[in-house]
């Protein structure tokens, strides 16, 4: 026993050492980025990476000289609306597939599943023409309307709804609850964990959109943050590495905070939506 305990102590130290090394490797790009965001661009350009002239000047510059706050606000608005719409429309269609009996239900469900095979990236040409014909180019709507619902969300919520105990529906029938009341008062509250998970996914999905906003927005008034960062890089500021790194940090830090708080839901969501 003594020997085992000793071995496990040295083993523990080795494990911690390896864990710390892995952490440094994984977080390296963050740390390098955060560190350079504190350095004057002059020092970065001279390769003086270990400079001690650290300050928050780059952050002040980022907030005052670039429209980064406007970009963040745009993204927040687009992502929030997309998330709200997906929660409503995906839960409604999932409800129809689980609780309503109608002709063609099975065919429609297969059709929904089929859309998961069709990549949006391969449909940008007609969709661009549609949005243009609707007169929605360079508006928030261009970036929200095509993503008001999702087949993945419907599928994920359907899996969750299917696991509700049958007694709930029976009790609701006895109580005389109509479909709208059952949906609103029972189904949605009962599946709130799945809804939160889907919400997190929808939000992150909308937040990370890149190709579509790039095609449909041309002005800073509507440009979301991913494309805004690209815009900043393509402008003169590109050489101002300190400030560019500061804008990246400004964008990534809130996301990380949300992620760490919501981690539990992401994990359960992936298990629910796919791995079950």
């Amino acid at each position: 026993m003594e020997v085992v305990a000793k071995q496990s102590l040295s083993h523990k130290i080795l494990n911690y050492a390896l864990l710390i090394i892995l952490t440094v490797v994984v977080l390296g790009p963050f740390l390098i980025g955060l560190w350079t965001s504190l350095l004057p661009t002059m020092d970065i350009a001279k390769g003086n990476f270990l400079s001690l002239h650290i300050s928050l000047t780059n952050y002040v510059d980022a907030f005052t000289k670039t429209p980064i706050l406007q970009y963040l606000g745009n993204s927040l608005w687009i992502s929030a609306l997309t998330t709200a719409a997906q929660l409503i429309f995906c839960s409604m269609s999932a409800y129809a597939f689980v609780f309503l009996r109608f002709r063609g239900r099975h065919v429609l469900f297969i059709l929904f599943l089929a859309t998961m095979m069709l990549p949006f990236e391969a449909e940008i040409i007609p969709n661009f023409m549609t949005i243009k014909a609707m007169g929605l180019l360079n508006t928030y709507s261009a970036m929200i309307v095509p993503f008001l619902t999702s087949a993945f969300g419907t599928f994920m919520l359907r899996q969750s709804f299917l696991q509700m105990p049958a007694e709930l529906k029976e009790a609701a029938d006895i109580e005389g609850l109509g479909h709208f009341q059952f949906y609103w008062k029972i189904v949605l509250p009962y599946n709130r964990i799945s809804l939160i998970t889907l919400g997190a996914y929808s939000f992150l999905g909308a937040w990370n959109q890149y190709l579509w906003p790039m095609l449909t927005t041309f002005s800073n008034a509507f440009r979301p943050v991913q494309n805004g960062l690209r815009q900043l890089q393509s402008e003169e500021t590109f050489n101002d590495w300190g400030m560019i790194q500061a804008t990246a940090a400004i964008v990534v830090i809130p996301t990380l905070i949300v992620l760490f708080i919501g981690q539990h839901y992401f994990k359960s969501g992936v298990n629910e939506g796919a791995v079950k």
Binding site: T115, E123, I124, R230, F266
Partner: protein, 320 residues
């Protein structure tokens, strides 16, 4: 499984448990079903409309456009049948794009899975404070494409970048990370793997934690080494999840656009000119909508095949 509304009223699970009032029930069930149809339109209508306009119609339109020549605003002019596809599949340029995409996708998937396994294996150990490491390992999940591109563009920057500095300190030869065709591909692969790692790690860790501990206890009594346990217990037990993550990573790889646009713009000399970037360039720069449509359809077929494989395997574990 599916029954027509007329016959299904007496067998529906929601109504069948009340045998006593069957005569009156079947009448009210008829109305319930008729109403269900009306409700189905309300509940499904919005989603059907959106999917129809932005998923189904564009797929058919893309197929249609790919069979024509188009003018500069994307209107079809001359029907050419499969000529666009034949041109593409015989063009060295397009075959190069297919090849570089394949290399990228396979490399990204393989490296992501291996590194994800390494991280998950370490993070599944029972150690004090392991939760902190789990959180930190999953951090790249919160990094969006343009933030990742900024971080790594600085690291790979030829004159003032981090790797260039390290090379100088260590007196190593400088590498043209984004200017040399081969290294540009390596740079894009590294960045993609880094971005994928947090998600992959989290999923694999979840799978590892659901492997029954009794298996490991039994193996330890038998004297199995940790390495043996990893390869003969953990990996076989989590193979469904490994499969799932691999397919997801493959599909996402085929759809890569943002990093290419931000880091290499398809270059140097088309070394990273992948499928989606090509579609974008051909349609929105060159105005060759017909060819871009044919490329879109080829991409759709590739992704549909992998998605179907995924559904087929998942079907065994998902109850419809």
């Amino acid at each position: 499984m599916l029954k027509s509304p007329a016959t299904h009223s007496s067998t529906t699970p929601l109504a069948s448990n009340d045998e006593t009032s069957k005569a009156t029930k079947s009448r009210s069930d008829f109305w319930l079903n008729a109403k269900d149809k009306y409700y189905a339109w309300i509940f499904l209508g919005p989603s059907l409309l959106i999917l129809g306009v932005f998923i189904f119609y564009p797929m058919l339109k893309t197929l249609y456009l790919s069979l024509f020549l188009t003018n500069t605003v994307g209107k079809p002019t001359v029907f050419v049948g499969l000529a666009n596809y034949i041109n593409l599949l015989t063009s060295a340029d397009y075959l190069n794009s297919l090849a570089v995409t394949m290399v990228y996708v396979l490399a990204v998937t393989a490296i992501t899975i291996v590194l994800g396994l390494v991280l998950a294996n370490f993070a599944s150990k029972q150690l004090a404070g392991i939760g902190i490491f789990r959180t930190l390992f999953s951090a790249t999940m919160g990094v969006s494409v343009s933030v990742a591109a900024i971080f790594w563009l600085f690291i790979f920057n030829p004159s003032t970048g981090f790797l260039s500095l390290v090379s100088t300190w260590l007196h190593l030869p400088q590498i043209g990370w984004l200017t040399d065709p081969t290294w540009a591909m390596v740079a894009v692969i590294i960045t993609t793997v880094w971005m994928n790692l947090g998600f992959t790690f989290l999923i694999l860790l979840g799978a590892m934690q659901s492997v029954p501990t009794t298996l490991y206890e039994a193996a330890s009594i038998e004297g199995a080494t940790p390495r043996y346990q990893l390869f003969h217990i953990t990996i076989p037990m989590i193979s469904p999840t490994l499969f799932f993550v691999s397919i997801i990573t493959l599909i996402e790889g085929f759809k890569s656009f943002g990093l290419i646009d931000l880091m290499t713009k398809g270059g140097p000399t088309n070394a990273t000119n992948m499928l989606v970037y090509r579609i974008y360039k051909d349609a929105f720069y060159s105005g060759n909508y017909a060819q871009a449509s044919a490329e879109s359809l080829i991409l759709t077929v590739i992704i549909a095949i992998f998605t179907l494989i995924q559904f087929k395997v998942l079907e065994k574990r998902v109850n419809y």
